[in-house]
């Protein structure tokens, strides 16, 4: 992307008016996006996003700039502007970069090795499958996106790292309509993979699951409102753990004292059945990468061990403040943003319980088979997440599907109320938003039983 000597020169300039540390983030992002709707391929977009983000850290202060002009001239100008912003004193820094380290995946099939026409066929096939599921399916929307992101990170500590992330996403949204009621069903699959994602199984599963859910919801009853026990299936994804505890363990929020988990290291913060991990190093997962966006190798970090809080997720800046090594969680949406502590693939490890035994514990409760997105207020710990597929359970028996409900709870309280953890695990990909930046993540959980949580339904009951 850029020569070693040029990198060294830019880093030298950026520190020429003061500063302790400087880092250059060069990104070349090539994407293909296909949007199929209303029985036709409506959009096909080829995108190329290239830029450099540069930051100088001086004590607790960060100076950040970026440019889409990645010529040597453009980069010099960017570095000079940053140095002018720092403007402390003249200093003569000579950065010497160590040998380049290269990471990154080699997808089995990348952009060069498949015909763009294949996309059209896949989207058509999915459309036919989704619509033929049931005559009440009135619309099917699907998206395929594949992103090839090459990054180069060089810093004044001498690190010089390249990583390549190829991510492919497919999703389908079925709209069912009957008697004036409209309901939707959604299914997505994503990974740190290339075009090989599109196996026959995936091409079948997306439209089938999306349409099955839309029809199920057409036939569903209103969700009850109030406090109940809940079993969440491993198939539901892990949004609960992402919202209830994940965000609160991001060290920047802890540092700013807006996390309920501040000053809790070594303390019991969850039921002893809960061991929680964030691991960006896992192969093929949507939230994975070789290094994070600060060039720190991704890791397998145990954050909660049998209910006891072990550590937080760090960027370089927060790691320094907390006097711990960076954990490989410094991530950014793209070169336009400075890196901040983020989750990667976050999950709870399996336990020993069986689904049947957990359902038996529901005298009157909800069985959640698919969760949607969520949100959390880290200061209070209150969080919500949507139920995309759920059932009302009476005396351990699944009675009928419910619709239109979120669950609302308080992170630390809910973590204490996890009473059983299943011997299985499931993962779901998503995009996590924080401070205006979206990054790809995966969340995972075994099947769990929560003794009580509030169901935000519309049916008052008795």
């Amino acid at each position: 992307m850029i020569s070693k000597s040029a990198l060294e020169e830019i880093l030298d300039i950026s520190l020429s008016k003061g500063g302790d540390f400087s880092e250059l983030f060069f990104e070349v992002n090539n994407s293909l996006y296909f949007y199929f709707d209303d029985n036709r391929l409506e959009e096909a977009v080829v995108g190329e996003d290239i830029g450099v983000g540069l930051r100088v850290i001086l004590g607790d202060r960060t100076f950040y700039g970026y440019t889409t002009d990645v010529s040597l001239l453009g980069l010099r100008k960017l570095a000079q502007n940053l140095a002018e912003a720092v403007f402390l004193r003249d200093q003569n820094i000579k950065v010497v970069l160590s040998d380049k380290k290269e990471y990154g995946i080699r997808p089995l099939k990348d952009k060069g090795s498949f015909e763009i026409k294949e996309v059209y066929d896949i989207l058509r096939m999915m459309n036919e499958k989704a619509r033929s599921y049931d005559s009440r399916i009135v619309q099917f929307t699907s998206v395929i996106r594949t992103v090839d992101q090459k990054v180069l990170i060089a810093n004044t500590d001498g690190d010089w790292v390249e990583d390549r992330r190829v991510r492919t996403v497919v999703y389908g949204l079925s709209v069912g309509s009957y008697n004036g009621v409209i309901q939707t069903g959604y299914e997505s699959i994503a990974g740190m993979v290339g075009w090989e994602l599109f196996t026959e199984e995936v091409i079948n599963k997306i439209p089938y699951e999306a349409s099955r859910r839309a029809i199920l919801l057409l036939e569903a009853k209103e969700a009850p409102a109030g406090v109940m026990p809940v079993v969440i299936s491993s198939k539901a994804g892990g949004v609960l753990i992402h919202e209830a505890v994940g965000h609160g363990l991001e060290a920047d929020l802890v540092d700013k004292e807006v996390s309920v988990y501040k000053d809790k290291i070594g303390e019991k913060v969850a039921s002893e059945l809960v061991t929680m991990v964030d691991a960006g190093v896992l192969e093929g997962m949507y939230g994975s990468s070789g290094v994070d966006d600060e060039g720190v190798k991704t890791n397998y970090n145990v954050l909660i061990d049998r209910g006891v809080l072990k550590g937080y997720m760090h960027s370089r800046i927060t790691a320094k403040k907390f006097n711990v090594p960076p954990s490989g969680n410094g991530r950014r949406q793209n070169f336009r943003y400075p890196p901040i502590p983020r989750m990667t693939n976050t999950f709870i490890l399996p336990g020993e319980s069986k689904l049947e035994d957990m359902l038996q514990r529901l005298e009157k409760g909800i069985y959640v088979v698919k969760m949607g997105g969520g949100q959390v207020d880290t200061t209070s710990g209150d969080f919500v997440f949507a139920i995309e597929e759920g059932y009302f359970v009476l005396n351990g028996e699944i009675k009928y599907p419910i619709r239109g409900a979120t669950l609302i709870g308080n992170g630390p309280k809910v973590l204490e109320k996890i009473e059983m953890v299943g011997n299985d695990i499931g993962f779901a990909p998503g995009t996590c938003g924080k401070d205006g930046q979206g990054v790809p993540v995966t969340d995972g959980m075994p099947t769990i039983l929560i003794s009580e949580i509030t169901i935000g339904g519309t049916e008052k009951g008795e």
């Binding site: 209303d38 036709r40 409506e42 959009e43 096909a44 977009v45 080829v46 995108g47 190329e48 996003d49 290239i50 830029g51 607790d60 202060r61 960060t62 100076f63 950040y64 700039g65 970026y66 440019t67 889409t68 502007n81 763009i116 026409k117 996309v119 009135v138 619309q139 929307t141 709209v175 409209i182 309901q183 939707t184 969700a223 409102a225 109030g226 406090v227 700013k256 004292e257 807006v258 336009r336 400075p338 969520g374 949100q375 200061t379 209070s380 209150d382 969080f383 919500v384 997440f385 949507a386 239109g404 979120t406 609302i408 709870g409 509030t454 169901i455 935000g456 339904g457 519309t458 008052k460």
Partner: protein
């Protein structure tokens, strides 16, 4: 890159008989993040991007890049991708049209002055109430955009827009409970920002929620203050989009001319109104924007169209073609959409509530399904009994369907601020299910 160069490029495409439209965007952004009486982050940038649409043999292709030296390559990419598309004559570029709307903005105070004011703001938050224990940060961000759209069909549009906002997130504690407050103010220029009010509001939010707890599940009245009501209008705006209507993705499909909302409700788009945060004389496809009602006295009067959706029905675009950035195609969107203010003051609306909740924050808005209309949102707020604020509530949800929401609006406040592209006065709703204990 100068305009002459772009024109030259367009001319060369004309000679090659390629129908093409170029969207050229220049964007400048500055950010300051204040924390613990320090500038924690200072950011400044200028970037360029170009999006190219081609129509070849009735097939539409799109490509974008940040690399301005590769204009010919990007055209080739757009043509290449268009070849897998089916023929679709509904994609069209406007013809023979030159429109310019470049505004001047007042000169800004120096960066140093801004920093001092923001540092002062952080101090004011702490000193306002001793239960404020943390200010996560105070963030200022300014964006200035200049967009040019040129086509081989003789289109040349140029406009600029600028806005800036300050937001802050604070944490309050009474020693036992902790609650947060988040608020922002947005304006075109620094001088128009109302930072004093921001301090008052955010401190009030966080401190008045201290000790909040859920109440039992029941049906209540709801007061949505301006910002929260605006968030709901944003969801509702999806229902008027012709794109959604045509695809069966709007619960308002088939209701044109019919009653869809409470008779007190008027929803208006007024793109060129002087108070609008980002006033626009024409949309991103060169269509003149106009003032219009989507809902008048509860009756659905219009859907919103861009050129593509209008062509599908043989209609004319309503001037609602919006491009989010050089990376996006024209979608159906709005310029200054709002609910028309009513007659009651905010105080009168609150006083008219016998049993209900004043909603301070909504959680999970992005989870609402605007296609089915179903929403179920976490709320924090203050209990109202006989018109008076009582104790704070949290860990509760309000749920329903947007169709009912429109009908349940029983009161509209008389005050409206233009603090975004979609705005609403205070709303009062009746008979909403509140889930809790």
């Amino acid at each position: 890159m100068n305009v002459g160069y772009l024109f030259g490029f367009i001319e060369s495409l004309k000679k090659q008989k390629i129908d093409c439209e170029v969207f050229f965007q220049e964007k400048e952004k500055s950010t300051l993040i204040i924390s613990r009486q320090e500038v924690e982050n200072y950011q400044t940038s200028k970037e360029y991007g170009i999006g190219v649409r081609v129509i070849k043999e009735g097939k539409h292709g799109f490509a974008y890049t940040t690399n301005l030296e590769e204009l010919n390559e990007i055209i080739q990419k757009a043509i290449e991708v268009s070849q897998i598309m089916e023929e679709d004559r509904n994609w069209q570029f406007s013809k023979e049209l030159i429109l310019k709307d470049t505004k001047c903005y007042p000169e800004e105070p120096s960066l140093q002055e801004k920093i001092s004011r923001l540092l002062e703001l952080e101090r004011e938050i702490y000193s306002k109430d001793k239960r404020i224990k943390t200010v996560r940060n105070v963030v200022w961000e300014k964006t200035h955009e200049n967009n040019k759209i040129l086509s081989t069909t003789g289109l040349f549009l140029e406009y600029n827009q600028q806005y800036q906002y300050v937001y802050t997130e604070v944490g309050a504690s009474d020693g036992i409970n902790e609650r947060s407050g988040f608020d922002f103010d947005v304006a075109r220029s620094w001088q128009e920002l109302e930072l004093d009010k921001l301090v008052d509001k955010v401190v009030w939010q966080a401190t008045s929620l201290l000790g909040a707890s859920p109440k039992r599940t029941q049906s209540v009245d709801i007061i949505l203050p301006m910002e929260r009501a605006g968030e709901f209008l944003e969801l509702i705006s999806e229902l008027f989009s012709a794109d959604n209507v045509q695809k069966g993705k709007s619960i308002l499909k088939g209701f044109l001319g019919e009653r869809v909302a409470s008779s007190v409700l008027n929803i208006i788009e007024d793109p060129f109104c002087g108070e609008a945060l980002v006033p626009r004389a024409f949309d991103d496809e060169g269509m003149k924007t106009c003032r219009k009602y989507f809902v008048r006295n509860g009756i659905l009067e219009n859907y919103a169209y861009n050129i593509y959706t209008a062509n599908k029905e043989g209609k004319i675009s309503t001037g609602n073609g919006v491009r989010g950035s050089f990376k996006a195609l024209p979608q159906v969107g709005y310029f200054n959409l709002y609910i028309e203010p009513g007659e009651k003051s905010e105080r009168e609306l609150i006083e008219s509530v016998r049993n209900g909740v004043y909603v301070i924050s909504l959680m999970g808005l992005h989870l609402a399904d605007t296609i089915s209309g179903d929403f179920s949102l976490g709320i924090e707020g203050l209990w109202i009994r006989n018109g008076e604020f009582l104790d704070p509530v949290a860990e509760m949800t309000i749920s329903g369907n947007l169709k009912d929401f429109l009908k349940n609006i029983s009161g509209i406040g008389n005050k409206l601020n233009f603090k975004g592209n979609i705005n609403s006065p205070m709303l009062k709703l009746e008979d909403i299910i509140l889930a809790g204990k």
